[in-house]
Amino acid sequence: MAHRVDNEYDYLFKIVLIGDSGVGKSNILSRFTRNEFCLESKSTIGVEFATRTLQVEGKTIKAQIWDTAGQERYRAITSAYYRGAVGALLVYDITKKLSFENINRWLSELRNHADSNIVIMMVGNKSDLNHLRSVQEEEGQALAEKEGLSFLETSALEALNVEKAFQTILSDIHQIISKKALAAQEAAGSGPPTQGTTINVADSSGNMKKGCCST
């Protein structure tokens, strides 16, 4: 709530947080929207919701984030929340191999129920627990490349890369949107593109762009 700045924003993006139960989705959300971390957090029932407005590439973007319950049977319910989402953070726990192996199931879930253009970012959370690591960063990276996703390891506890993860996905989305807008503009033949926004097509799914902490 601390970040509910105002009602003025250029874009409103809906993002869903998905992944196995207990990988830290809710803490990623609270870290991002309230800069809080709760070691003893409670299970998410159904979905939880929060927003935050931030600057991405010079634009004010309001991120609407839906945090979903991880238990398998909740998918029938949570998939209803995929509608209209332009981005998804697919989270696994680097200390839980199974949560990484389930990434594929979550991907097919997204591909079956979300918009086909949804931007997906894979996130390996709990990087602070390096001594318990069971998924190597390279494995995550490799899978992300294979599936064409961006990738980051985060630690909600240490506030490491959480901001960056959201910045990355939001700017990816922003680029796609402005690319589309540009294409539409050109198709309509209405003169030169507005402003000098660089639209790097090849880079649209690339990862890690901006530094963190814009707020």
């Binding site: 207990g22 159904g46 079956n112």
Partner: protein
């Protein structure tokens, strides 16, 4: 314990002798609970579990309880905290369900022997005899989820120390074994945790069983069908009662279910202030069904709708509604608005609406599992059965022959015809026929059981699709 309840009752109700009058006429010494349980269910509730023991008496019940309205008022006014645990147990009717040794037997070593532990199985809940047979087969895959959720249940609460968590683990494990078609579903950890705060472990088990099996049947099972149906029902009710608000929400692209879904699934726990949650539970448990979920949601919409209309985007609307709900400290206002303002929203109305919306939930589930032939062919029958199971008055109209016919029809359609037969066979073996006084009751019981089995099979099929589906599954 029942004594204690009675004693306390005396203070609040002068007509207490009436209870005494009824008691001898019935069977068990725990009758008090049974009476309590049946009493609020005004007439034949279409609840399957009530059907076998409740309906006959419920009809003639009204006259015996001149103090019913008074009691209802008292419940709506909020139960005293000191009595809450006892009264909840009475409302849920745990005395009538309790079977000595059952809880321990569920927690006992899981060995192959499907013995019935020498206990006369509860007549109340049809699933009771069954779990033991299928227990060894189910891999207890819910274990991991329970472990994950133990520390995430009221974290930091002093009662949930090491011992508290162990009790919570036992309780959830016992329930999962008692009703494998539900197993464990997130949210139950909170229900169980709350019950443990208010009553002894075994009583909490019976209360949880009552709540899950009677009040929320089909809600937390693998498919969560009823939970989805209820959201469609609520949506229709909100549309009917608050057209202006819905107009605005439509404009913003907000679905009522986005917010109300978690409300219902958690029975408002963690969604409203604690005192308010308890007040809602008081009424819900007293009512004997989940009507109060709807009434509370409608009351919240009534209270906060005007504020919602001012929001400018979907995120703001959802955030505002959540935070307003979370600060509903005037629990009396909420409960009274809910109970007085929405009396017309009763169980019969809800059942009608559920029957209306259920097919669309079932068909969208079908779409989820698209491409699966087996699933498609069973769906027709399963949903049909499912529907008349819930019907309010099918008890006489549907004969066993019909039921058998349709089963055969399905079996023929299916390549795996043995499947259903096996289940049906297993079903008859496990029945507690002796304890069913009336053949009509037996028929109902069998129908319900068959539906449940079909449901179970359907979810098994669905799961197998999920396993097949992932594109490049390394799992």
């Amino acid at each position: 314990m029942s004594l204690r309840v009675k004693k306390k009752k005396k203070q609040s109700s002068a007509d207490e002798e009436n209870t005494e009058d009824i008691k001898p006429s019935e069977d068990s010494d725990d009758e008090f609970y049974d009476v309590e349980k049946v009493d609020p269910s005004e007439g034949p509730v279409a609840d399957s579990a009530n059907a076998d023991s409740g309906t006959n008496r419920a009809a003639s019940q009204e006259g015996y309880f001149p103090w019913k309205e008074e009691l209802e008022c008292l419940v709506r006014g909020g139960l005293p905290m000191a009595l809450r645990g006892e009264l909840w147990q009475a409302f849920v009717g745990i005395g009538a369900r309790r079977v000595k040794g059952y809880y321990e037997s569920l927690l006992g070593v899981v060995d192959g022997g499907g013995d019935s532990k020498g206990s006369d199985s509860p007549t109340k809940e049809c699933g009771d005899g069954k779990p033991k047979a299928s227990q060894d087969l189910s891999s207890e895959k819910w274990k991991g989820q329970i472990e994950k959720d133990l520390p995430r249940t009221f974290p930091g609460h002093p009662a949930l120390d090491e011992d508290g968590r162990n009790a919570l683990r036992r309780l959830l494990t016992a329930y999962a074994r008692h009703n494998p078609s539900v197993g464990y579903c997130q949210a139950m950890n909170f229900f169980a945790g709350l019950l443990l705060l208010l009553m002894s472990e075994e009583n909490a088990f019976w209360a949880l069983t009552g709540i899950m099996d009677d009040y929320f049947e089909g809600y937390f099972s693998e498919e969560m069908i009823e939970s989805q149906v209820d959201q469609l029902v609520l949506e229709e009710l909100v549309r009917e009662k608050f057209p202006k608000l819905v107009n605005h929400l439509d404009y913003l692209g907000v679905q009522v279910a986005w917010v109300a879904g978690p409300w219902f699934l958690s029975i408002y726990m963690n969604m409203l202030p604690w005192e308010t949650v308890l007040r809602v539970w008081d009424v819900l448990l007293f009512d004997g069904n989940r009507v109060m979920l709807f009434r509370t949601a409608l009351a919240l919409m009534e209270l906060y709708g005007p504020a919602l209309v001012t929001t400018k985007d979907a995120g703001d609307a959802v955030t505002l509604l959540q935070s307003l709900a979370g600060s509903t400290f005037d629990s009396s206002q909420l409960v009274l608005t809910a109970c007085m303002g929405y009396q017309a929203v009763d169980e019969a109305r809800l059942q009608d609406l559920r029957n209306k919306h259920r097919p669309s939930v079932l068909s969208s589930m079908e779409n989820r599992a698209k491409g699966l032939l087996a699933w498609r062919s069973t769906n027709g029958l399963a949903s049909k059965l499912y529907n008349f199971k819930r019907d309010t008055e099918p008890l006489v109209s549907i004969s066993t022959e019909q039921l058998n016919d349709s089963t055969d029809g399905d079996a023929n359609q299916e390549t795996s015809s043995g499947n259903i037969d096996d289940m049906y066979h297993g079903l008859t073996v496990n029945t507690e026929i002796d304890s069913m006084p009336d053949p009509k009751d037996q028929v109902i019981w069998l129908k319900v059981e068959l539906c449940r089995l079909l449901e179970e099979r359907r979810s098994a099929v669905l799961r197998s699709v999920c396993l097949k589906y992932p594109r490049s599954s390394p799992v």
